[in-house]
């Protein structure tokens, strides 16, 4: 690789220095052990290392799989025969709602996300992903939120409107109890946990890979997690917006979904499925990444069609955003519209076909070594193929009109999700257990687990296709006798218990063999070729390898020993702190050394209080909610306080005498990238708000009133413009000062002024619409306008808070020229808020009205 290939002017000839054979000083490993030591006992609440937080996250997700599975068994007993009395109607309705909600929100997404956080640091050859505190916050919130959400079922407070929560059934008129609020708030904030994880994963995959691990050499699982992360930040804002709007309708009677006042029930369906269908691929893609990793090891050959597979992952990620309305073919959409979603549903099958054939070709090109993961992988290919085919069938509008909302769809989605995600995950449990456990799981038991699980799945769900054709709809708590539905349902129930037996056997295997450890793991039992199998401690491998191929362990037999002996990058702690190398996004050239924050009680505290905030909102304890919310924000700011520590040392030797800077600012820094990702999230929420407004205008233009006068709009735009300009100015001010001289008060005061401008603009916007006679309760226009302005108001409040935080740091002399990460972050955030505010205000005031 010549120098001109370089992405960052890094001299690739320096790679030739490695492995360095000069002996390393004594005591470096001990120092690493000391620095990365995990807290024990109650101290674990402070723990923030993805190696074990990721493991806790995955275990919690698996717990919810078991609980939701038990609910499914209850439902299958109820449906074993017609007119059974096992579960009363309302209980059954709560069970199916909870089963779906938990499997999707509390098991599937968190499980694959946690698997990513657990595996990625070592797989990428990083000490740690860039935002471990955010990951810890995400985990604790998931744990508390998930458990309290689940507990609602014991008090008959669980939601019963289905995981899709269609209004008006879930509106206050037809669901006056707080059960629905448990869903809207309980699930709403678990989404925040998912987004926190996505930020961590996207920036981690792009910026903390081992030197030399170009995008083209990245393990396919990392590719999958990258696509997964991007899809989360694009799709989850839709559900956040949707649940917020429905909660606003329930709490304040704003008629987003009420057709009598210019709302529309289908608005919810669009928002929900714009999240809901990509969600399915969000679940499938990481599992497909695991499959691609496992097939290569099983056949012990490199993955056939690696790049085809990468294109397939990216293609799936995009096209899956064009299929959402195939859940709505029966709602009476215009015919041409249904055609587009049908076409995209066909197109999205192409990349799936590529992946399946890549796996088969890989298995064929090597020699399969049969093991539990191998069985799960082949079982998954068959099951997923069947699910994919029924998916193609459902993508055809006329067929969907018959099969939609029947047990045929139940069969289809279980084939896809079990074949596409659960079976690969079980395979992955066997495959990767050796990385985090003292003993590998028993391969012999694993084969039995597979046999029971695989046969159970097909006994349960294969007959269900017929059940649907026989006319049995979904979400029914019972059915009538004499309709030939008895036998098929009984078979499905038997199958469900066979699945349960398989899962129980897996639990037995876990209990017998699984002993969590980060440092003394069983090791590479399946003889895989990727970096997660290097000998490792909590700091990953002792030195971070130089990556020259896709399967470095296969291609360089000495790699394990060389990294262990510290012959590669960062054989010690260069600063005496937790740290990892940040590399460039495409070619992974070392750029700088990131100081990683250590254990802290504040992420967990903030998570507990955020959970308390949302749960008190649910039970309408508003005072207590505010109290918790304020302290939660305090905890978050306190943890941010440590994330930009003043560092005396400016450069560090990362091995071989290569010096890189420490803790840089600006567009190359990981913090900058993290904020970019968050801006996408905020922007998507804004887009959803605009979509809601435009959509309702399209349906009910008759209730629209004219916008306030143009001068007002221009004034508001000017204020938002000033917001952005002042925010930019505050950042420049620091650069103008001479290095070494404290920043003074000017930057933060400018930032605070910017936030004030935004606040004034929001106030003017709100009062202007009120003055024009718009009422949020009266019409869909009012509801969507004030929701958008309110959203802008929330971001403005955060801006003000951040400006204050900046002032506090300035007061402590922690903002120093020429640049500061904190100032960068605050100024860019406020600048973004100004731009978004201008766009929202402008577009909303653009539409005509009578």
């Amino acid at each position: 690789m010549a120098g001109r290939e370089s992405e960052t002017c890094f001299d690739h000839d320096l790679y030739k220095l490695f492995p360095v054979h000069a002996p390393r000083p004594e005591g470096e490993v001990e120092e690493l052990d000391r620095i990365w030591k995990a807290p024990t006992g109650w101290g674990l609440l402070k723990g923030i290392n993805n190696n074990y937080i990721g493991f806790f996250h995955l275990s919690t997700a698996f717990l919810f799989f078991l609980l939701a599975g038990i609910l499914a068994l209850g439902m299958r007993v109820q449906l074993a025969a017609p007119l059974q009395d096992f579960l009363p109607q309302e209980t059954y309705n709560q069970f199916f709602t909870m089963h779906g909600t938990m499997m999707m929100f509390l098991f599937a997404v968190p499980a694959v996300e946690a698997a990513g956080m657990l595996l990625l640091p070592q797989m990428l050859g990083a000490r740690e992903l860039p935002f471990p505190r955010m990951a810890a916050y995400g985990f604790w919130m998931f744990l508390i939120g998930g458990l309290s959400f689940f507990t609602s079922i014991f008090f008959s407070l669980a939601p019963s409107g289905g995981w899709f929560m269609y209004p008006p059934l879930t509106s206050i008129a037809f669901s006056p109890e707080i059960n629905t609020d448990f869903y809207l708030l309980g699930i709403g904030f678990i989404e925040i946990s998912a987004i926190a994880g996505a930020v961590e994963i996207i920036v981690g995959v792009l910026r903390s890979r081992a030197p030399g691990m170009t995008l083209d050499r990245m393990p396919i699982f990392a590719w999958a997690m990258l696509v997964f992360g991007v899809m989360i930040i694009l799709a989850f804002p839709a559900i956040i917006a949707a649940t917020s709007l429905l909660e606003l309708e329930r709490a304040f009677n704003w008629p987003f979904f009420d057709p009598t006042r210019g709302g529309d029930p289908l608005l919810w369906q669009h928002l929900f499925w714009f999240f809901g269908h990509p969600e399915v691929y969000i679940i499938f893609i990481p599992a497909a990444g695991m499959m691609s990793m496992m097939v290569a090891t099983i056949a012990r050959v490199p993955l056939v069609g690696y790049r085809l597979n990468v294109v397939a992952l990216v293609a799936t990620g995009f096209i899956s955003f064009g299929v959402w309305a195939h859940h709505m073919f029966a709602t009476g959409m215009p015919r041409v519209s249904t055609g587009y979603f049908s076409a995209a549903s066909m197109a999205v099958s192409l990349p799936a076909g590529i992946q399946v054939f890549c796996w088969i070709a890989t298995l064929a090109s090597g020699k399969i070594r049969w093991s539990a993961p191998a069985l799960f992988v082949t079982g998954s290919i068959v099951t997923f193929t069947i699910g994919g085919l029924t998916g193609v069938m459902l993508g055809m509008v006329p067929f969907d009109w018959q099969a939609h909302d029947t047990h045929f769809v139940v069969a289809h989605l279980h084939y896809v999700l079990i074949g596409g995600m659960v079976m690969p995950l079980f395979g992955a449990f066997y495959y990767w257990a050796g990385m985090t456990s003292k003993n590998a799981l028993s391969d012999r038991l694993g084969r039995w687990v597979f046999a029971l699980f695989f046969s159970g799945v097909h006994i349960t769900f294969l007959p269900m296709h017929l059940t649907g054709f026989l006319g049995m709809p979904r979400r029914v708590y019972t059915y009538l006798p004499g309709r030939d539905l008895d036998l098929v349902n009984l078979i499905s129930t038997i199958g469900a218990f066979v699945i349960a037996a398989g899962v129980a056997l897996f639990l037995f295997d876990l209990a017998r063999n699984f002993r969590f450890t980060a440092a003394e793991s069983a090791g590479n039992v399946y003889d895989a070729g990727t970096l997660e199998w290097l000998p490792a401690g909590l700091y990953s491998s002792r030195s971070l390898p130089l990556v020259k191929s896709r399967n470095p362990l296969w291609d360089d037999p000495d790699l394990a020993e060389d990294t262990q002996e510290g012959r590669y990058f960062l054989p010690n702690s260069a600063t005496g702190l937790r740290e990892t190398i940040i590399t460039s996004p495409v070619n992974a050239e070392p750029q700088y050394l990131q100081i990683i924050p250590g254990p802290s009680p504040f992420p967990a505290a903030a998570a507990f209080l955020t959970a308390a905030f949302f749960l008190s909102l649910t039970v309408q304890a508003y005072g207590f909610a505010v109290f918790c919310g304020v302290i939660a924000v305090g905890c978050m700011l306190r943890w941010m306080w440590d994330s930009d520590p003043p560092v005396e040392q400016k450069t560090a030797d990362i091995g071989g005498g290569i010096m890189v800077p420490i803790a840089i600012t600006g567009p190359k820094s990981h913090g900058w990238w993290g904020l970019n990702v968050l801006m996408v999230v905020m922007g998507m929420i804004g887009v959803m708000m605009l979509f809601s407004y435009l959509y309702l205008f399209g349906i009910h233009p008759d209730v629209w009133i004219a916008a306030p006068p143009l001068e007002q709009t221009l004034g508001i735009l000017a204020l938002f413009g000033a917001t952005t300009a002042l925010a930019w100015l505050s950042r420049r001010m620091l650069a103008w000062r001479k290095p070494g001289i404290p920043a003074g008060q000017l930057p933060w005061i400018t930032a605070a002024l910017a936030a004030t401008c935004s606040a004034l603009a929001v106030y003017w916007d709100w009062s202007g619409w009120s003055g024009a006679g718009l009422d949020p309760v009266a019409s869909g226009q009012g509801a969507t306008v004030f929701a958008a302005v309110g959203y802008q108001g929330c971001l403005t409040a955060i801006s003000a808070l951040l400006a204050g935080y900046l002032g506090f740091r300035s007061g402590r002399g922690l903002i120093s020229p020429p640049a500061s990460v904190t100032l960068d972050t605050v100024a860019r955030f406020i600048g973004y808020v100004g731009v978004q505010g201008a766009v929202l205000a402008f577009v909303i005031r653009l539409l005509p009205g009578g």
Binding site: P168, P259, A330, A343, V356, M396, P398, G482
Partner: protein, 350 residues
């Protein structure tokens, strides 16, 4: 649950069960989809077999075959070219079929307005001007061979109208009017259900579609129109009954008429008229199903019970244990005799 045992009774036999209604079409709007379903089933079997066979080759096949399968070429053929071809064909077929199933509505068709309620269907037959000709509930009668436009509405939450023998389903969305074309080409009784989860007893919300031969249809319609227009003809109507209307075996009781009169009084005194309408009487409630022709219906409780005196008595007395959560209160204060009297009177509302 104390739903009376109704094993494969004569009535339900025709409504549901084997052969699967999706594969047993009774009209043009279901026919072509059945063909499609079989074609898709064939495609599914073939593709699954190909994948399983390829896996078998990968695992156990001869070295030569495995080498062929083990490269990017196999991915290009099996994973890109072949699916691309199949998907393109399916896309075109699907779109053409969608277009033919939703062909233009000329405006001359017979129109029926079906409104979803929690948890029953209101059925109104419209005349050429769109005015209501006839109200009924949970039953859709239509002449064989004639295209019928259903105007689908909802009064509360989202429901979905689905009679698989006749056509695919279509949602009933509050604030929207959806139109669905149906046509039966053979006489018969076809079961239908609400297919969109609508809370509570969604599982027990059904209906029956009845297709009549043309001549029989005229008789049926005339009988209905007379029944609705001239309630004074009640209680005991004689004369020819359409064959399709279930013959109720009325017990040989001399005081039939007296019982009916008493039942009518009880019906009014118990406040049934607040929710139910019986044309020609003071009962004019609109919250529940119209009972003007309830005696002629095939089912009770929205397609879940056969309609005879016993089930009618059970339904009036304790509908909550039959269909928990439905909007009708229990009338356990009425004695068995009183229930029977009401049932006798309702039986005569044809």
């Amino acid at each position: 649950m104390s739903l009376p045992t109704c094993t494969a009774s004569t009535m339900f036999d025709a409504l549901w069960g084997w052969p699967p209604p999706v594969l047993d079409p009774a009209g043009p709007y279901a026919d072509s989809v059945t063909v499609l379903a079989w074609a898709l089933f064939g495609m599914g079997v073939i593709v699954t077999s190909v994948v399983v066979a390829a896996l078998w080759v990968a695992a156990k096949g001869p070295e030569k075959w495995r080498r062929r399968l083990g490269g990017e070429r196999a991915v290009w053929i099996g994973g890109i070219a072949f699916p691309g071809l199949v998907l393109t064909v399916l896309l075109v077929w699907g779109l053409l079929l969608t277009a033919s199933l939703t062909e233009e509505i000329s405006g001359d068709e017979m129109r029926v307005r079906v409104t979803g309620h929690m948890w029953w269907f209101d059925v109104e037959y419209l005349d050429a001007d769109g005015d209501v000709l006839l109200r009924d509930a949970n039953e859709l009668h239509l002449p064989v061979g004639e295209k019928v436009v259903l105007e689908l509405l909802s009064d509360d939450v989202i429901h979905s109208f689905w009679v698989p023998h006749l056509s695919g389903k279509k949602d009933m969305v509050p604030g929207r009017l959806n139109e669905l074309l149906v046509q039966a080409d053979r006489p018969g009784r076809f079961g239908g259900v609400c297919a969109e989860y609508c809370g509570g007893p969604h599982a027990l919300m059904g209906l029956v579609a009845v297709a009549h031969e043309a001549a029989e249809w005229e008789v049926w319609l005339q009988a209905r129109l007379e029944g609705g227009d001239s309630p004074a003809a009640l209680p005991a109507r004689t004369g020819p009954m359409p064959a399709v209307v279930r013959e109720t075996e009325l017990p040989a009781r001399t005081d039939q008429a007296a019982a009916a009169t008493a039942g009518r009084a009880l019906f009014m005194d118990s406040g049934c008229g607040a929710c139910h309408r019986v044309a020609g009487t003071e009962a004019n409630g609109l919250a529940g199903p119209d009972l003007t022709h309830v005696g002629a219906r095939l089912t009770l409780g929205a397609g879940i019970l056969p309609n005879h005196r016993g089930t009618m008595m059970g339904w009036i007395g304790d509908s909550q244990s039959i269909k928990p959560g439905n909007r009708m209160p229990t009338y356990d204060r009425l004695s068995a005799d009183e229930l029977e009297a009401i049932a006798i009177w309702l039986e005569q509302q044809r």
